[in-house]
Symmetry: D2
Amino acid sequence: MQKIAVLTSGGDAPGMNAAVRAVVRACAAHAGIAAVGVRRGYEGLMAGDFVTLGARDVANVLQRGGTMLRTARSKAFMTTEGRAQAAQHLRDQGIDGLVVIGGDGSFRGAECLAQEHGLAVVGLPGTIDNDLYGTDYSIGYLTAIETAVEALDKLRDTGASHERTFIIEVMGRRAGHIALDVALAGGAEDVFIPEDPRPASAVLEVIEQAHARGKTSIIIVVAEGYPGGGAQLQQTIEAHTGHQTRLAVLGHIQRGGRPAVGDRILASRLGAAAVEALLGGQRNIMLGMCHQQIKATPLYEAYSQRKAINQANYDCLRTLGV
Amino acid sequence: MQKIAVLTSGGDAPGMNAAVRAVVRACAAHAGIAAVGVRRGYEGLMAGDFVTLGARDVANVLQRGGTMLRTARSKAFMTTEGRAQAAQHLRDQGIDGLVVIGGDGSFRGAECLAQEHGLAVVGLPGTIDNDLYGTDYSIGYLTAIETAVEALDKLRDTGASHERTFIIEVMGRRAGHIALDVALAGGAEDVFIPEDPRPASAVLEVIEQAHARGKTSIIIVVAEGYPGGGAQLQQTIEAHTGHQTRLAVLGHIQRGGRPAVGDRILASRLGAAAVEALLGGQRNIMLGMCHQQIKATPLYEAYSQRKAINQANYDCLRTLGV
Amino acid sequence: MQKIAVLTSGGDAPGMNAAVRAVVRACAAHAGIAAVGVRRGYEGLMAGDFVTLGARDVANVLQRGGTMLRTARSKAFMTTEGRAQAAQHLRDQGIDGLVVIGGDGSFRGAECLAQEHGLAVVGLPGTIDNDLYGTDYSIGYLTAIETAVEALDKLRDTGASHERTFIIEVMGRRAGHIALDVALAGGAEDVFIPEDPRPASAVLEVIEQAHARGKTSIIIVVAEGYPGGGAQLQQTIEAHTGHQTRLAVLGHIQRGGRPAVGDRILASRLGAAAVEALLGGQRNIMLGMCHQQIKATPLYEAYSQRKAINQANYDCLRTLGV
Amino acid sequence: MQKIAVLTSGGDAPGMNAAVRAVVRACAAHAGIAAVGVRRGYEGLMAGDFVTLGARDVANVLQRGGTMLRTARSKAFMTTEGRAQAAQHLRDQGIDGLVVIGGDGSFRGAECLAQEHGLAVVGLPGTIDNDLYGTDYSIGYLTAIETAVEALDKLRDTGASHERTFIIEVMGRRAGHIALDVALAGGAEDVFIPEDPRPASAVLEVIEQAHARGKTSIIIVVAEGYPGGGAQLQQTIEAHTGHQTRLAVLGHIQRGGRPAVGDRILASRLGAAAVEALLGGQRNIMLGMCHQQIKATPLYEAYSQRKAINQANYDCLRTLGV
């Protein structure tokens, strides 16, 4: 192996730059291994939008949000022709290894590329949703929950001042990881997540109990993937009680900002490990971090399984909401 | 004058606690002057929900968002009967001066109370919208724009990574102060405000120009008070171009959080000045800060006039958007 | 068991309030279990400085730095007489369980109290240094490293602008956990820690290599417990090279601030688990979190052993410094 | 005028990038006007270290700390020969206007260059110390005080938890602006500044009064330019009382970080105005912002006079410290 390419794919996540830097620096630490950045994910891979990256080219990016390589979602790469085009560009450049930083959709594409064209591929989990199997956390998740809790703290200020109920909708189309951790860390009264799709009317009991306990301001967190989202809860409350209710949809701010320490360390470790894995002959795996140790999972398993929510945290939230 | 009450009214704003602290401490600095906090604004005034506040009772609140006295909007106080009830409570407690921290609606109520019951009233400008006449800034504004720009910076990360257009809607029902300063400080391509209600189609030219200039990600700020708000702009862009457009409504996070330095200093100075003004025999005024000096404005003027936006900033935004 | 007391001891750490809240709320969730707060650690325990705490008394403290119970270091409690006095106060109040949030010194005291007076004691790891055995992280650590990395990022701005070398001294008298994680997350060129007491002259090679690699600004992190601290490194560099070197001692800011999400969740889980453990008959243990699961360690082991630094992170730092 | 150069000089300050961007963009907004960046201040000017800057080259820098052009302090430029060399480079490049962003030392050099070589020069106030005459604020100041107050808030957490006295030393070699505003916004008990060099023993009275008022934790802010600095106060307190006292020297973190909103707007307005001034034939002036309006001051006045501290803020601090 002499040339390793790296790309970021799917939704951007804070820490992706740290992972790119780590891949590039780990290549530079080995004599004779060159690193190449691919711009705009699979779109750029099909267009041959490559840039050679040396150790100094990734200086001062570790602390920056977003991805210096940019990212995109690509339909064309989902086709055999698209991948053939990408493979041709890789061969033309003499690239024999590829690090894909992204989520499960990106891993599916990477595996097809590997199988169809014999490319050595390593995936790194990069998605704020944290629902990837095979790693305790995915790159971006820890920053996203810090950002969301910071917003929740601000809403608490105004909620407490007005004795109001706030419903806070956070990201997570299929998974409630963000919602649950934000609720627990933010001291919310309850959380509604897709993994436990209780009827929206359950929120009425939460409100009632909170008032019975003497609470004057109430915070409820909901994942965007909960059926109906925050709007459903808001309508339910307003239809059944006179209690003033505000809905805050945090949205894309959860994707940006300086990466949190945990994401920087995770991304740095995984980026360096990806290069070692490729040089060591490993292929078609996703590298994750479990119990502070690098763990390899076959790409197929990584994208076909889902990580369950932390049940103990879910239980703890209810206990502490008294 | 022997007893001065203080309340926060209308929407909460960061720095209100600093103002309450300053009123209480300035009372404590004068022998024989007592301070009383009124909870939940005019609602609490009508209910006699009072608490005596000494210098130590306002320790460690300066840096906190929201308002320790809580706040509310009161319809009952808009009636003669409501105000008579409030005045009776004030007389019962021997309170002869009142500091009202809030916006124009609160000042209207304060003036009625003063005229109908001879109470000495001083208003302090507390609203994140910054549209009050008679002060360069109102308490809460500087924090709100910091919060909004921090969110914009995060959206810029993800916007740049995806080469997307973002429309960011900030608070300001009648005024574009927040929107304009956020756009200028955030390096946005343009801003849409109620004071200059251009047709939504104007956004198409902004997009076109930005692309012609080689920009791949675009940020447009809009005040909630611009006709149709951010949704109107989003629909216009999506209806006329294929360019992917995201709308972020920042909402109530702009009201919370640790107050910025400027809000703390402004609130501290105004709170102390309010006590001096009452002791010096001034009545029915709003105190503001203009050119770093305390300035008194008759309450009537404060709520009947509006502050114009900063035209030079508006012009500068366009120049720097090239 | 009917009454459980909680105290914070030793150096304060962000997240202690979340732990106190969790203890109190977990008691409230059990009918018939009362919670008592002890002010100023063992000092307050010996003075009988107690306060009954209900669920509402710990509202709105989760997100606050410091400790609402205050803390202190106590010499008197290190004596048999001191502990006898404390035990008498506990008996007088009918307290039969005690949760001690602190570090190894606090745990030694707790174990003596337990052995001499038969009190049921559970320790929770609360120290920013993270050197306690039996838990992946101690409460406060994750916040401390976020704060330190935020400072490092700022120093990087000015270091890069001036093409300067910065030495950043972080907390950790006996342990390099903070220093190592801050260096890795901050993209520092190297780290000096007590666990690997290389001679100060080693820093000269770091500087030389960095310059050879074309770096114009250099950041080196050092734990306060490294022999000679940051001052030693600064003097060594300045004595042997003409390179301008600044030393930044971060100091106590690392102890304060809103707790990070990780600390809030850790503290919440541990606080709730401490109550369950006491009710379940467990005694003289420290509860920690290992691999996202609660783990009990005998107090004796917790304070007599030390956690080793993460060698893989240490290695990774060197790889990525190229 | 056809080509305008811009450089940053002296200590870096947050917002310098926003000013550089504004100069470049304002040039780009005029057909036929080119912008040139000079790297490393006067050092780069003497070395001819120039880079042509178009509108896109300053994209995405507005929000970044430090200065993309880097900065330096130059002794050689203080000589006639040094300036002749610089002037030659400027003539060679066809540069007929120069914008210097820096402090009073930088303005002295700029004026010499202007007088000796007929160059059109405009200065912009860029220093966190805020002691420049002719502007309400200098670029960087508002960020520096936000950073310092954020640190103070964190120290307050730990100070309150331990019932300790903290002395916080902030930047300001000759001026107490930072110290005073930080003290007022941070709720400090007192401030010691070079403009009012009270004997260090005055701090004893502050401590005594604070204790008499029932305060258990005390915060005192001191400017580095106060005789003896924070160390002098710490020694005085510890020599005369048994009260535990911590000294925190904030140092260079005050120079870094994302610029605050106020600095971004100030820098944007001033940068654009500098280009207009040069094109309008103005020379040898510093542009500042007074009362939200651009104001020109002869360079000579800008560096030979000093801005006085805000006496009303100084008085207010004492009133609110009760």
